[in-house]
């Protein structure tokens, strides 16, 4: 344990996620926080980015003269094209997702449950306009689903977002394999939630604050 180390900042968190993406992987980065991971991928690792709106081989955000409003990512931000890119239509793009061909997808979340259930599309509030986009397809389609989120709901009451059971409407069931937060990294499989690494907090304290069954093995923290 290395409880004295401070929690990661957002850039460190993105870099930490990037470190777990295998060379050559086909990866989809969800809208928002997951998009930041792109900047930390090793350009020599041959990782290929997928965007749900019909492209493999997506490059960095476009600037200046490179901006083309017909070349967008899933967040509708102008992006660029890398050598070896390919375009395809929406049914083919989602066939790729649903068919289990993407190695990793990285998503934000409102809540993740100990069994890997994901809630990230709808707060369930009565006046909320439902909007799901490709979240449900990504949740159930990729070989590994990584979630990047705050471990606690700082915007509201500080309650944990890694929970025994989701109280928000589900996006997908038993689909999340890893959870990356500023305070810790977790691995989820059918048996348990395993603590992989902590940042600035001890494993035992974390288990106490989360109030979930948590497997803590050996030493954690860098």
């Amino acid at each position: 344990m290395n409880p004295d180390r401070r929690p990661l900042d957002r850039r460190e968190l993105a870099a930490r996620v990037a470190r777990d993406i295998p060379p050559g992987a086909y990866v989809n980065l969800g809208i928002g926080l997951p998009t930041t991971v792109a900047s930390y991928l090793d350009p020599s690792a041959g990782i290929v980015l997928h965007t749900e709106n019909g492209m493999l081989g997506m490059g960095p955000e476009a600037h200046g003269d490179d901006i083309d409003h017909d070349l967008l990512n899933a967040g509708k931000v102008p992006v660029t094209e890398l050598p070896g890119a390919a375009y395809f239509h929406h049914a083919d793009s989602f066939a790729m997702m649903r068919g289990g061909h993407l190695d990793v997808c990285i998503l934000g979340a409102f809540q993740v449950a100990v069994n890997g259930d994901l809630a990230n599309w709808h707060t369930g509030a009565a006046d909320a306009i439902p909007a799901v986009g490709g979240a449900m397809d990504l949740a159930i389609g990729a070989k590994s689903v990584y979630v990047m989120m705050d471990l606690f709901n700082f915007a509201r009451d500080g309650t944990p977002k890694l929970v025994r059971a989701c109280t928000y409407p589900l996006t997908g069931r038993a689909c999340v394999t890893r959870v990356y937060t500023r305070h810790a990294v977790f691995h989820i499989d059918s048996a348990a939630v395993r603590l992989v690494e902590t940042f600035g907090i001890g494993g035992d304290e974390l288990a106490l604050r989360l109030d979930i069954p948590l497997v803590i093995e050996g030493e954690h923290g860098a």
């Binding site: 070349l71 375009y87 395809f88 049914a91 709808h122 449900m136």
Partner: protein
């Protein structure tokens, strides 16, 4: 039939025949691939009680948002209505003046493809166990719950492509391709807004994305800038 391919003189001519109550498939993912000139013409045409099938529900005050603002749309089927600048839709929805069916984006795309491909229905794992599967038939296949989804057909499809030849073969441009090729197959009448019409035989047959059989009318418009 390809002698029916009509190269319309302007967008208004290109969308003629859309009647009240029609189901209109509209291509695009955000601004990319949205056939803005055709949507504007649809608004000017004044058809009411439309069902619109499109990934989003309009941005700002132009294009699809303007069609919604004009009160011509009774119902929208889409995956992602809520956006930073979807205030026109948001207001209609909150005041109960538009019906919304939200579908996971991949199910939306596959249902449109199914309509064009003559598939009666299909089982998909997407959405199983969620609010969006409520009331739908489900089935366990290989130990995994699947939801039965049905085709979405259009009376007319409005899409944007890059180039057409004079038979109606289409190629697209970058991520503006998105829903165009599947919507072209799923409507009784398909109208494509294109940058350019080129002579038949100019497009490499290996690279055609939408074969001419799916295209009824084209109209040349200058590229929309978002």
């Amino acid at each position: 039939m390809n002698d029916r391919l009509e190269i319309a003189g302007d967008p208004d001519e290109a969308v003629r025949g859309v009647t009240d109550g029609s189901t209109v498939l509209i291509g695009g993912f955000g601004p990319a691939g949205l056939p803005v000139a055709l949507v504007d013409a649809l608004r000017r045409g004044g058809a009411h009680d439309l069902t619109v099938v499109s990934n989003n529900a309009g941005n700002g005050t132009t294009g699809l948002a303007a069609l919604l603002a004009a009160g011509q749309v009774r119902r929208i089927i889409c995956s992602f209505p809520r956006q930073r600048d979807s205030f026109v839709f948001d207001e209609l929805y909150r005041t109960g003046r538009i019906e919304l069916e939200v579908a996971p984006q991949g199910n939306l795309a596959e249902r449109i493809r199914a309509a064009g491909a003559g598939i009666g229905a299909f089982y998909t794992p997407t959405g199983a166990g969620t609010l969006l599967a409520e009331g739908k038939e489900t089935r366990m296949i290989d130990g995994r719950e699947h939801v039965l989804e049905h085709p979405i057909r259009g009376d007319i499809a409005l899409i944007r492509a890059h180039r057409a030849d004079r038979m109606g073969n289409l190629v697209y441009y970058k991520t503006a391709r998105n829903f165009g090729p599947i919507m072209a197959t799923a409507a009784a009448l398909t109208v494509a807004e294109v940058d350019q019409v080129v002579p038949t035989g100019t497009l490499d047959p290996e690279t055609i994305v939408t074969p001419s059989i799916y295209v009824d009318r084209v109209v040349v418009t200058s590229r929309a800038v978002a």
